[in-house]
């Protein structure tokens, strides 16, 4: 455990927790402006969280501890990921956890906790949301793993730090077909996993189309605040992962204040730009019908598979 790793392990979660609601605010603001509205401002998600935290805690009748612990587990898994993944510094505080398979599985664990909470309520909405979320997860997880496999093969390791460092040392890899195919596949699954248009609409409450929102319908007050915070954090984590897997420049490789400052700024800029692009893209796309979503995900799975095949034949 190096000094750089420890500093990264402290700075990263703080940055993600503090910054992710701002990212969501930024994306909403970009969208509002493009649609000709004034928008509520970048700080609105934080104001919403403060409001929710002040409200009363609710225990819906007939729910068990699964329902109560799910928001905690969701935030905790994302927090662990925020600690271990090389966002600001190339070294990780908990190196034996900074593995791509572990990170993907941790994020899936959070989604599973929420889906179980949805089923635990025993309402039609909860079950519906859980069923749809699990269907999407069952298709997203393979794509994530295969795309990641394509990136790991040439490094010979699934350790995130190793992958990021190897890209830093050999910049030409970024424009190889392997990287490009894997990047497209990852972008599609990240859109699906974070529940953005065209897979899910975070601002809808219509029965026919809800996925994530149906699952968390029974959460209220502080629990809802945790769920909202966690989904913002997941968005930031995924975008940060995408940015650093393909464009790692700016990340701190040594434990000096200047390098760390540059690392933080680089992450903020990269995630901000990606978020802005995603929000701008959402304005021009309509939501897909739920049963067309698998076609999109199957396409991205195929791209990821092509990336793996390419990684052998171009090696």
């Amino acid at each position: 455990m190096s000094a750089l790793g420890v500093i990264g392990g402290v700075v990263q979660p703080v940055l993600i927790v503090a910054g992710s609601p701002l990212l969501v605010g930024l994306m909403r603001q970009v969208r509002a402006r493009l649609e000709g509205r004034a928008g509520a401002g970048v700080g609105q998600p934080w104001r919403d969280l403060r409001k929710l935290l002040r409200k009363e805690r609710i225990a819906p009748r007939g729910t068990s501890e699964v329902f109560r612990f799910a928001p905690l587990v969701l935030v905790a898994t994302t927090l662990v990921v925020a600690v271990v993944v090389p966002f600001v510094a190339t070294e990780s505080a908990l190196d034996p956890v900074a593995d791509l398979f572990a990170v993907v599985a941790l994020l899936a664990l959070g989604a599973v906790a929420l889906a179980l909470a949805g089923l635990d309520t025993g309402t039609a909405f909860g079950g519906m949301g859980a069923s749809r979320e699990m269907t999407i997860l069952a298709l997203v997880e393979p794509t994530l793993l295969v795309a990641i496999f394509a990136l790991s093969v040439r490094v010979g390791s699934t350790n995130l730090g190793a992958i990021v460092s190897s890209t830093l040392h050999d910049p030409a890899r970024v424009i190889s077909p392997v990287s490009l195919l894997a990047a497209v596949a990852l972008i599609v699954v990240i859109v699906a996993e974070t529940g953005r248009i065209p897979v899910d609409n975070p601002s809808t409450h219509l029965e026919l189309t809800m996925v994530h929102e149906a699952m968390v319908l029974e959460h209220a007050g502080p629990d809802l605040a945790l769920v909202e915070l966690a989904s913002a954090m997941r968005l930031s984590v995924f975008l940060g992962l995408l940015a650093n897997l393909f464009v790692p420049w700016g990340i701190a490789t040594e434990a000096t204040p200047l390098a760390l400052l540059i690392g933080v700024l680089a992450l903020v800029v990269k995630v901000g730009v990606l978020g802005g692009l995603l929000a701008a893209g959402e304005v021009f796309v309509a939501k897909l019908r739920l049963f067309r979503v698998p076609e999109l995900l199957a396409g991205s799975f195929l791209l990821a598979l092509l990336a793996v095949a390419a990684s052998f034949f171009l090696a």
């Binding site: 905790a76 662990v80 271990v84 908990l94 664990l109 599973v112 069923s131 010979g156 390791s157 049963f291």
Partner: protein, 665 residues
């Protein structure tokens, strides 16, 4: 006599004594259960001693005519003996109260249980073909008796028994043909002699031997397309027997494959292992897809066994492929991953089947669409099933997570190493493992979330009660083993490596190959997760103004309290997935709409039926079965029931033979 030999002797002695007691005196069920559990303990001791290096060899020529009994316990066999023993401990304790029903108190059933366990313990210890085949057959027969133990429940039990009997014996015949061909070329049926001669077999003969034994062993492991018996027999067997079959018996198919393919035949050609890899990949994906569609709890678990054995075969196939291209270290890593998965699967499948049995015991139902709401009434069973489900779905902290990580490490390093065949096989294998992981999550969320959480969906469930202490204890033991394996895989890695033939996997699942180092610490991961939960909970306590939770009504759209019929069921939960994989599973939908007589525009009733048949079974088995049925029908004309005609057949047959002899001599 070392510890391994003592353990084996004790296991055989206790099992035989228990069986004799069950025959001679009318013992109580708990005696048989304790005897079975003690047999398991002795087997665990023997297996652990063999893994630690204390192998033994014994030859008893007089016991069996012709070949004699010959037993050897090496590390590979020891691993399987230990796993079988572990499952038997839990199943034995569980059966003490579970098997206390009129059907399971029957003498034959009580005798069969310890004999089944001891047969499974002896198979990996057999050191010649004769012993192997006798134990294999004893295992098949005793398990058949146990499968049909509850035949009074309905005709489906007898049908499951018939499927199992026919398929297991066809598999036996296949193994027999393969091994006999092998022995014909070596002249000696001891494994030591075969190991020597196996290196010098011609590729054609070796290939035939391998394929014939592969067919037999794959049918035992429930590998597609020879899996048809598994989702029938496992649900209909009593639950502790399901656990024994699903967690211990299917492993022996893998054992046979490794023993014959890797050990006796010494590796062989790359196409063998590509075949194994392909079978594994198809089984893994198809098995979990069927499980995802299933709404019968025990059937779902049985189909998940096919999936897990598929994953194991992917590891074994990759190991063989790497070995045939000369990369020994990587081969050992892949085999280690496969064997770790065998151990992990045994642990979590035991928990899951025992918990499912507990549900069946309490509610009389294993239909997920009728279950739900078990958490308040059966907290221990729910917790045990939750642990098992987490372990089965490749999520941290679970056992399958560790073994699949190891498997992926082997596949990643195999891509640059193995040539063009590997370049095609490895990505497909990774895709299969990844797809399986994703679908397994959905499957076990369905099984746990729909089966145990929410509100009861039927009257029977509402009146459920927690199971007796011994059943809970058995589940508890298995669940603890699951957790230990998940958090501290380093504890079993040296043993598994000894069985796999040595590779540098050490410490907290750190692996070192020639160029790369990979590390994963499930313990650190879990500690991190627990710490994060604690931090978030503490922050929430500090930040939240009002701490007391107010109980509130669920959101019912203002339509009054919701009934259990409005809940999502397992079928509706799986519906989107079924739509996605429509082309693969080909479900049969049947919608009947009846109209009012006065007007065709008014609907009177809508009847909706959905079935997800096993497509491979339908395509492959139905034609064969219909040909056999037609053949039987044609033959029926010869047997109209007339005694005169039968005597006539005999007369003409004898005349024919005499004529033949007269002409030829």
């Amino acid at each position: 006599m070392n510890l391994a030999a003592t353990g084996m002797a004790a296991a055989v002695a206790i099992a035989v004594l228990t069986a004799l007691l069950a025959v001679v005196v009318r013992t109580r069920t708990s005696v048989v259960g304790v005897g079975t559990a003690l047999t398991g303990v002795a087997a665990v001791v023997a297996g652990a001693a063999a893994l630690a290096g204390g192998s033994f060899s014994v030859v008893l020529p007089g016991v069996l005519p012709l070949s004699g009994v010959s037993l050897t316990l090496d590390p590979l066999g020891g691993l399987f003996v230990a796993v079988t023993g572990g499952v038997a401990v839990a199943a034995g304790i569980y059966s003490m109260s579970y098997a206390d029903t009129p059907d399971l108190r029957a003498r034959g059933v009580r005798v069969a249980l310890p004999l089944f366990v001891v047969a499974m313990v002896l198979v990996p210890a057999a050191a010649n073909v004769g012993t192997l085949l006798v134990c294999w057959e004893l295992m098949a027969l005793t398990s058949l008796v146990l499968v049909v133990a509850e035949h009074r429940r309905g005709p489906q039990v007898a049908s499951a028994g018939r499927w199992y009997a026919v398929m297991t014996h066809l598999g036996f015949v296949s193994v027999l043909i393969g091994l006999m061909l092998f022995v014909a070329h070596t002249g000696d049926d001891s494994f030591a002699a075969m190991r020597e001669a196996g290196r010098h077999l011609s590729p054609a003969v070796a290939g035939v031997v391998f394929v014939a034994t592969l067919v037999g062993f794959a049918s035992k492991a429930g590998i597609v397309p020879l899996h048809a018996w598994l989702p029938r027999a496992h649900p209909e067997a009593p639950s502790h027997v399901s656990a024994l079959m699903s967690a211990a018996m299917v492993n022996l198919g893998v054992y046979g494959l490794v023993r014959v393919g890797v050990d006796l035949l010494g590796g062989g050609a790359a196409w063998w292992w590509l075949l194994v890899l392909a079978l594994g990949a198809v089984s893994a994906v198809y098995g979990i897809l069927q499980a995802a569609m299933s709404s019968d709890l025990k059937r779902l678990l049985g189909q998940s066994t096919t999936e897990n054995m598929g994953l194991v075969l992917i590891g074994v196939g990759a190991a063989g492929l790497f070995a045939s291209s000369g990369d020994r270290a990587l081969a050992a890593l892949a085999l280690t991953a496969a064997l770790v998965h065998v151990v992990g699967h045994a642990a979590f499948k035991t928990v899951l089947f025992l918990a499912a049995g507990s549900v069946l015991h309490a509610t009389g139902s294993r239909d997920l669409d009728a279950l739900g709401g078990l958490r308040p009434v059966m907290p221990v069973t729910t917790a045990a099933f939750g642990v098992g489900a987490l372990a089965a779905s490749a999520l941290p902290p679970g056992t399958a997570f560790v073994s699949e990580w190891l498997l992926l490490q082997a596949l990643i390093h195999g891509l640059p190493a193995g040539g063009v065949a590997a370049a095609i096989a490895m990505p497909v294998a990774v895709a299969a493992v990844a797809l399986t992981a994703g679908l397994a999550v959905a499957t076990f969320v369905k099984a746990f979330g729909v089966g145990f959480l929410a509100k009861p969906r039927s009257e029977a469930v509402a009146g459920a009660h927690e199971s007796p202490f011994t059943m809970l204890a058995a589940m508890g033991i298995a669940a603890v083993v699951c957790v230990v394996l998940a958090l501290w895989p380093a504890g079993i890695l040296p043993a598994v490596q000894a069985a796999a033939g040595g590779v540098a996997v050490s410490g907290d699942v750190t692996l070192r190959l020639n160029q790369a180092t990979g590390a994963l610490s499930p313990l650190l991961l879990t500690l991190g997760l627990v710490a994060a939960v604690a931090v978030v909970a503490a922050v929430m306590r500090a930040a939240v103004a009002r701490r007391v939770r107010r109980e509130a009504r669920l959101w019912d759209c203002g339509g009054g309290p919701m009934s259990a019929r409005m809940e999502y069921t397992a079928t509706s939960f799986a519906e989107p997935l079924q739509r996605v994989f429509d082309d693969v599973v080909q479900p049969e939908l049947d919608v009947d709409v009846s109209h009012h007589e006065e007007s065709r525009y008014l609907v009177q009733a809508v009847e909706y039926r959905r079935k997800v048949p096993d497509r491979i079974e339908r395509r492959l088995y139905q034609p064969v079965l219909s040909v056999i049925t037609a053949w039987g029908r044609a033959g029926r004309g010869l047997a109209p029931g007339s005694v005169h005609r039968y005597l006539g057949y005999g007369f003409y047959a004898v005349c024919g033979v005499l004529l033949l002899l007269a002409v030829t001599r």
